[in-house]
Each structure stands twice: as structure tokens, then as C-alpha cells.
């Protein structure tokens, strides 16, 4: 005869098994069409490029060398590596500036939303959610129409006599920056708002009672309390910005490449799949480092604020 304990244990084992069966389809699809192929990319990054795209099954560290190092065997490869470094630095710089810009604009916006009355708060949330779920390509296209030479910005400035000739914004880094800040702003506002909504304003009141200035209250009370939201928002903006494809393709023209365009090039005209794979893994590594920093930071602030 089985004891009650044994029966309970068997039931628990069955429950865990059922739970694995239930989650199997989702895990399988994600493994087959998302996670698994990433491992193939890693393998491909160590192979030799085929003459018509694809790869030859021959080990070669060449792809990784041309990602990181300036090759000094041939002169021509040297210049290509310099271009890679430029694109890496540009992508990281543009992503960091985008993150900062969305933070500077998004923090006050989230604060504004969180300090509205209960009734209107939902409306503001709705207004920020609409752009969030609207097609990114359409929003980028909307920015393109605004900032091009014949666009509303240049037309207005010309009519007002502030400028005498249209400013070339489109197809510059500035255009990419404006576009990314525009499309990713809701990603910054939403998590900050989520933390801000829970903010206990009695703490703010206590700060004022103790003669804190507005800025001191902001810096010493509000900001530390919503820091998890700020970090989450920064990560949510930084990751897609670093891998941004649509915005630089539409607003940067052909010349101002970002990492994703460089990767695409290797699978198109470049016909260097191993290099494209190595670049993709490199992007992943940068993202992972950012995520890790986030996890550590989130852990720390969690301890401090209970």
C-alpha cells in the first residue's frame, strides 16, 4: 500500500509532467523558429563564405577577424575593417543618444501622466499606447515626410524667413536620431509611467515638509523610487535601437549605415554569410552585456528600496 506521502508525491510528479506537456508546443515553436537558428548563426560565423552566398563547410576564424580587427595582410581589407569600426561606433552612439533623448523627454511625460486624476489617466495612457502599437514603418515614414526638404518643418522655417534654403536633415545621422527617438519614445514612457503610478506622494510631501526644493525632491525622492522603470525603459529603447533596421534604411539613405544594414549587406551583395553571422553574434553580445547590466542594477535597487 502506498502511503499518503507517496500518493502526494506521485500526484505532484504527474502535475509537473502535465505542465511540461502543456508548455511543449510553445517551447518547440520558439526553439525551432527563434532560439535554435541562433545557434546555427554561431556555427556559420566560423565557416568559409561560399562563392554565391551561403557557406562552404570549412572552419575559418576569418569572419571574426574582420569584425574586430584591422587586417594587416592586404591593404584593401584594412579599409573595410575601419568601416566596420565606424559603423559599430555610430550604432552604439546613436543608440545611446536615442536612449538619453527619450529619457529626457519621456520622464517628464510619464510624470505628467501619473499626476493626472484617476479618470483622465487612462486617456493619457491610451494616447501613448496608440503610437506604441502603430506600425513602426508607418511612423518612420511619417517622420520622413515631416523632415524632408519639402516637408512641413523646412517649409515653415522658409516661410517664417528663419532660413533661406532648406536644411538637409533627411539622409543624415540626425534624421536617424530623430526617427529613432520618435518611434521608441512610447517604449520609454510606458515602463516609467508604470513605476510612477505606484509612487506614494506622501513621501514627496514629507520632502517638502523638510524644506527640500523641487529639484531636491525630484532627485532625492522621485527619481530613486522610479529608477527600476527608468532602467527598464532604457533597456527597452537601447536594444531595438541598436538593432534598428527600418529607421536607418528609410531615414539614413544608403550611406549612413547602422549595424543591421551592414549585416543585411553581407547576406545580399556582400555574399559573406559568415561575416554577417559574426556581426549578428556581435550585436547579440552587446545586447547581452546591456541586459546583464540591467539585471544587476535592478537587483541592487531592489535591495535598497525593499
Amino acid at each position: 500500500m502506498a502511503t499518503a506521502e507517496e500518493v502526494a508525491k506521485a500526484a505532484e510528479r504527474r502535475d509537473v509532467r502535465d505542465r511540461w506537456l502543456l508548455s511543449a508546443p510553445a517551447l518547440l515553436v520558439i526553439f525551432l523558429a527563434a532560439t535554435g537558428p541562433l545557434l546555427i548563426v554561431l556555427v556559420y560565423s566560423f565557416l568559409t563564405p561560399g562563392s554565391y552566398g551561403d557557406v562552404k563547410w570549412q572552419f575559418s576564424p576569418e569572419a571574426w577577424v574582420s569584425v574586430f580587427l584591422e587586417r594587416d595582410i592586404f591593404d584593401d581589407t584594412l579599409s573595410i575593417a575601419a568601416a566596420h569600426v565606424t559603423i559599430f561606433l555610430r550604432s552604439i552612439k546613436l543608440s545611446v543618444v536615442t536612449t538619453i533623448a527619450t529619457l529626457v523627454l519621456g520622464f517628464p511625460t510619464a510624470y505628467f501622466m501619473a499626476t493626472r486624476s484617476e479618470k483622465t489617466r487612462d486617456l493619457w495612457l491610451f494616447l501613448i499606447t496608440i503610437p506604441f502599437w502603430t506600425n513602426l514603418l508607418i511612423r518612420t515614414f511619417a517622420v520622413l515626410q515631416i523632415i524632408r526638404n519639402e516637408g512641413i518643418v523646412n517649409t515653415m522655417l522658409l516661410k517664417l524667413g528663419i532660413i533661406s534654403a532648406p536644411i538637409q536633415i533627411l539622409y543624415t545621422d540626425t534624421a536617424i536620431l530623430i526617427g529613432m527617438a520618435y518611434v521608441y519614445l512610447p517604449l520609454m514612457v510606458l515602463p516609467i509611467y508604470a513605476s510612477m503610478e505606484k509612487l506614494d506622494f506622501r513621501l514627496v510631501e514629507a520632502g517638502y515638509d523638510l524644506y527640500a526644493s523641487r529639484f531636491q525632491v525630484l532627485r532625492r525622492i522621485i527619481f530613486p523610487l522610479v529608477k527600476p522603470g527608468v532602467i527598464a525603459g532604457s533597456i527597452l529603447v537601447f536594444i531595438p535601437a541598436l538593432g534598428a533596421y527600418v529607421t536607418p534604411s528609410v531615414l539614413g539613405g544608403g550611406k549612413n549605415m547602422m549595424l543591421s544594414n551592414l549585416i543585411e549587406l553581407q547576406f545580399g551583395q556582400g555574399r559573406n554569410w559568415p561575416l554577417g553571422s559574426a556581426l549578428s553574434i556581435a550585436v547579440m553580445i552587446i545586447v547581452m552585456v546591456a541586459l546583464l547590466a540591467y539585471v544587476r542594477n535592478a537587483g541592487k535597487s531592489g535591495v535598497r528600496h525593499g
Binding site: 517551447l27 532560439t35 537558428p37 502603430t134 514603418l137
Partner: protein
Amino acid sequence: MAKNFSIKHQPGFTAIAATCFIVLYLPIIVLVIYAFNAASSTSEWGGFSLKWFQSAWQNTQVVDATLRSFQIGSIAAVLSTIFATMAALATTRTAPYPGLTFKYAAINQPLMVPEIVTGVALLIFFSRIKIFTGYSGIGYLVAAHTAFCIPFAYLPIRARLENMDLTLERAAADLYATPWKAFRRITLPLLWPGILAGLMLAFVISLDDVVITEFVKSGGQDTLPTYMLGQIRRGITPEINAISTAFLLLSVAIVTLFFFVSRKRD
């Protein structure tokens, strides 16, 4: 100190917020206005006209791409929602068990990787399978979309489940309901708003995808966003504005619906 000292006031914040909301909507409004422009250039206003909507409607490529988007979107949304519902049932309302954290990580994995990397990975993987099997239909796009829609569908379903306790299911079991019957009569009706929200989210996410589709699609498999990207790269006609406007309208309708479904509490 001022008579009406508001503790919630921060200087300049309201102005920045107002600017943000205006800046968020202004480009979209301009885009919509120019969809109704009679002139064939997007830089001058030639009077009100619906001709660009008409021309988009008669453009077989646009119609074709739209139908493909809907086809992929609906299959991927339904599949991912079913899988996400099952996964959510398996990962909520339980004491931690071995593998639970792994499941969370695995389900959310598509969110952690930049789309370009997933796109490249699928390009490589599917090109192998294409050579191997000879099949080059939209099955690849459906599989890719289903995978990256799962974490989105999972979010509202899991959130809903976490707010439901097991009391009612236990009561049903006490009254001799089979597990399946208890699920169908108790769990499913209570979970329904979450499932609907997940379904809509997944559909919008699939409909909006550009990057992964761009890398996975074979020739002649343009979805509406990839078709639009191709057109925008080639040059702008107000037809793109018209298509965008119709697309926007659909997205706003779905988001509004989503908002009401997910806000409804029991």
C-alpha cells in the same frame, strides 16, 4: 511659500509632456492629411481627393500583399494564442517547480534578441530547409510569426491567470467535474478576456512586422509592410499615405478594442 503649493508640480514637466504628445501625433496627422491630397506630389496641396485610396485599391500588388498579411497574421495569431494559453496555464498558479524559470526565459527569448539577428538566423535556417525539402510556401513566414508572437500573446493571458485563484476549479472538482469539464466551464470563460487580448496583440504584432518578414520571405511573398518598405525606398507617392492611413485606422481600431478588453475587470 505660494498659497496653492502643489506637491505634484515640477517646473517645465507639463510643457515637455505637451510637446511630446504633439510631436507624437503631428507627423501622423500630416501623413493622413496628405493621403487625401489631389496632387500627385506629397509636397503641395492640390485639393481634397480620394483618388489615392482608389489607386491603392486597384493596385493588385497592394491587394495581394494585404491579403497575405491578413492570412499570415490570422494563422500566426490563432496558433500563438493557443500555444501561449497552454504555456500560461503550465507556468502560473503553482509552487515553483524545476524548469519553471527556464520556461519563462525560453518563452520571452524572442523579446531579448534584436529582430535583425532573428531575421538573419531564420534566413540561414530556412534556406537550408528550402534546399532540403523543396518547399518554399508561406509556411516559413507563418512559423516565424507564430514564434515571435507567442511572448506577446503570453503576457495578457498570464496576467489574467495570476489574478484568478484555484477556488472555483477546486469546487468544480469536488462536484465531480472532470479536469476537462472544469477547464471548459470554469477556467476558459474566466480567462477569455486575457485570451482575446493576447489574440489581438499577436495579430497586431504579426501585421506590423517588417524586419523578420523581409529576411524570411521568398520572392513574391511581400506582406503589406515589406511592400511599403520597398516602395518608400524607391520614392514616395501619396498612394503610400493612403495605404498607411487605412493601416493606421485598422491598428487604432484593434488597439481600442484591446484597451477595453484588457481594462475590463471581471
